[in-house]
């Protein structure tokens, strides 16, 4: 697989990552290969991004994305992470989604034993625990914005919108919980898998059940009956509050 881009190359560190490495992928998932260093793509399909250059290959069974990063770009990320102050009330967003994905995927990156030294050296530059704290803070902030939105919608009688907005609010709280439990994947598409993977005891399993109950509210909410809608949004708000207290204890 690495030979598609004439890897390994002594000028770079290459490693596998993404949903397949994390164990969530399926037969439609692409394989992500990260290349950090001076190597340049040689494939026929190259997309230049703001942060990285991606070379896309289609094999018979799977798409393979090679993401090329310079050392300067990754050093800048590591430096930015080291300077973040956790716990501020009005924290800024420090990374783009691509950069967050890079940091997480570096953390879970995989290489066979004989080529692992370069990967470990790169991983050592990043404070992954701080990244986890950053993700908790960011998810909670997202939930907080949505708490305001849901509360305002209910107050103004915009009931159906409140129900729909409550769902991403609950999702953001669950993300914070998963990060608190150790998950550092910033992507939300595997939220249920993340939640299940960190739910080992009865209390944690109850959170999974509550999450699913809130994600699938009764059909009757579509009729926007005020009392029932408020009951749903109040339950959702209390759920968010409980998760926040848990992760900030």
């Amino acid at each position: 697989m690495l030979a598609l881009e004439r890897l390994p190359d002594p000028r770079s560190v290459a490693y596998f990552s993404g949903s397949l490495v994390a164990g969530y992928g399926n037969s439609w998932s692409d394989l992500d290969v990260y290349v950090v260093g001076e190597s340049v793509p040689i494939g026929p399909n190259v997309v230049k991004d703001r942060y990285t250059t991606i070379s896309i290959h289609y094999t018979s069974s799977r798409r393979v994305d090679f993401e090329f990063w310079t050392r300067a770009a990754t050093d800048r990320l590591a430096d930015c992470l080291s300077r973040i102050e956790i716990g501020a009330a009005f924290a800024d967003e420090y990374f783009s989604p691509t950069e967050e994905a890079f940091i997480h995927r570096l953390k879970i990156g995989f290489m066979p034993e004989r080529n692992r030294k370069g990967l470990e050296g790169l991983q050592a530059k990043f404070d992954f625990e701080k990244f986890r704290m950053y993700l908790i803070q960011k998810s909670l902030r997202t939930a907080d914005h949505l708490v305001e939105d849901v509360s305002g919608m209910i107050e103004s009688g915009d009931f159906l919108q409140a129900v729909l907005t409550a769902r991403p609010m609950i999702g953001a709280a669950v993300d914070a919980y998963c990060h608190w439990q150790g998950n550092t994947d910033p992507s939300t598409k595997w939220r249920l898998h993340h939640l299940r993977s960190v739910s080992c005891n009865l209390e944690q399993s109850r959170i999974v059940e509550e999450f699913l109950d809130l994600m699938f509210p009764p059909q009757s909410l579509k009729s926007c009956e005020p009392i029932e809608t408020k009951r749903y949004t109040d339950t959702s708000l209390r759920f968010v509050n409980r998760i926040a207290s848990l992760v900030q204890q």
């Binding site: 708490v147 509050n241 409980r242």
Partner: protein
Amino acid sequence: MTSIYKNSIVICDARVQRRKYSDEPWLILHHEWIKLDSFGDAIWSECQDGKTVEGIALSLQSRFQIPLYEALAATVGMMEMLRSRGMMQYQERPYEETSGERPDSP
């Protein structure tokens, strides 16, 4: 003058969120932010569980090892402040006048 029954159940407004910033707990309701001390934070935490005023004061007494009258004063003071700001209300369940017995907890 307002009477507060010790077996009144405390109902918090679901919109009030407790958050920690720089290790300090806050209660937030829209534009209103209230900084909590350790008593206040403990009382808010107890309020979340749908306890009675008496139950909260007893928990506070046990947790901070303080006399009951102090725990009760702190609890009622905090409750009244929260109530005046629309952050909570009481669901009053006075004793039965005839028997003087407490109704069962919910």
